[in-house]
């Protein structure tokens, strides 16, 4: 334990040497950079992105297992979204065309469709509250993404400059009651998020979720089929069932 404390202390000193501000309060420089990023993204009418995600699951033994996924997202404000995720645990496509949302599991060839509110934000709220469906990257889309991110955050500071996927970024670290999170924002006029790490502190083993946004495209080309689901042959329509009480 003493050894670990010395290590933590050294890390603190290294941060200080790199010019990081105080780590125990909310540094306005950190919030300013974050706000610039979320505002920039909110101002983008259309974009696509590719991500690489890593999810840790803690077994009862305490052993951590990591699962990886890649995702591709297409967004056109105010009313279109498409997301495809492929990986260890799931293969799923999500479509919202302004009228209905569809989720489709290509591996099993099952899909379900439901009428949805006609804007992205209203659709995301509906999906979350009524169906317990979480649309990939949903939180990127909310125009108040900053407020969502900063809910209950008590501390935050600028860690320093880092390179993510070859792109120079500002590395920020925030703290909320149950969760620590870090975000890497591209430096310059297009302050896009490039990486995010979430540490669930109050869960045994403090599992982490991390996502690296490997590609951003702010001038994507979309077709009607990007957002409208057409069932491939052999795909079977199924229903949504209510969630079991937890």
């Amino acid at each position: 334990m003493a050894h670990r404390d010395r290590g933590s202390c050294r890390a603190d000193l290294r941060l200080a040497a790199r010019g990081a501000g105080s780590t125990d309060r909310l540094d306005p420089q950190a919030t300013r950079l974050l706000k610039a990023s979320t505002d920039f993204l909110a101002s983008q009418k259309r974009f696509s992105a590719e991500t690489r995600n890593s999810l840790e699951v803690v077994l009862t033994s305490g052993q951590k297992i990591q699962f990886d996924h890649v995702a591709r997202l297409s967004v056109q404000r105010p009313d279109k979204l498409r997301a495809d995720r492929v990986g260890d645990l799931v293969e799923q496509a999500f479509y919202f065309d302004g009228k209905s949302l569809t989720i489709f599991n290509p591996r099993e060839k099952y899909y379900a469709t439901v009428a949805a509110p006609d804007t992205l934000e209203a659709m995301l709220d509906f999906a979350r509250t009524t169906l317990d469906i979480v649309a990939p990257a949903g939180d990127l889309i909310y125009s108040n993404a900053y407020d969502i991110l900063m809910t209950d955050v008590t501390q935050g500071f600028v860690v320093g400059k880092t390179v993510v996927e070859g792109v120079l970024c500002d590395h920020l670290a925030f703290r909320a009651p149950h969760v620590d999170w870090q975000i890497w924002l591209q430096e310059g006029k297009e302050p896009l998020p490039r990486k995010l790490v979430i540490t669930t502190r109050d869960q045994a083993g403090a599992p982490q979720f991390s996502v690296v946004i490997t590609k951003w495209n702010l001038r994507p080309t979309f077709t009607p089929l990007t957002f409208s689901f057409r069932a491939p042959s052999g795909a079977k329509l199924v229903e949504f069932v209510p969630l079991a009480t937890r």
Binding site: Y110, L131, D132, V134, D139, V179, E239, V241
Partner: protein, 93 residues
């Protein structure tokens, strides 16, 4: 999971379904225990109960344009529960 109720950060949504999946059976990452449990049940599982995967030896049967999975004397229909694909026990069609 707190993360979810707190509507945690960005792109978090990308993983949330997975977190939820993990939450279904925290003891095993893939709900394997639940599946074993389901297939080990002696007797008939209750109509409306839901499993994350089918027991072994099921046969697909289509009736009235709907696909069912017959597993012994029990019929299942695929469905989505949140983002997760599940199988719900239904009355014999």
């Amino acid at each position: 999971m707190n993360i979810k109720t707190m509507r945690r950060p960005i792109v978090l949504a990308v993983c949330l379904p997975l977190l939820l999946l993990a939450e279904v059976s925290p003891d095993t990452p893939l709900g394997i225990a639940l599946v074993r449990e389901a297939s080990a049940i002696v007797g008939v599982p209750a109509i409306g109960s839901v499993v994350p995967a089918l027991p072994a030896g099921c046969v697909a049967e289509a009736k009235g344009g709907t696909e069912y999975q017959r597993c012994g004397s029990v019929y299942y229909r695929a469905a989505f529960q949140g983002n997760n694909l599940v199988y719900a026990v239904v009355p014999q069609p």
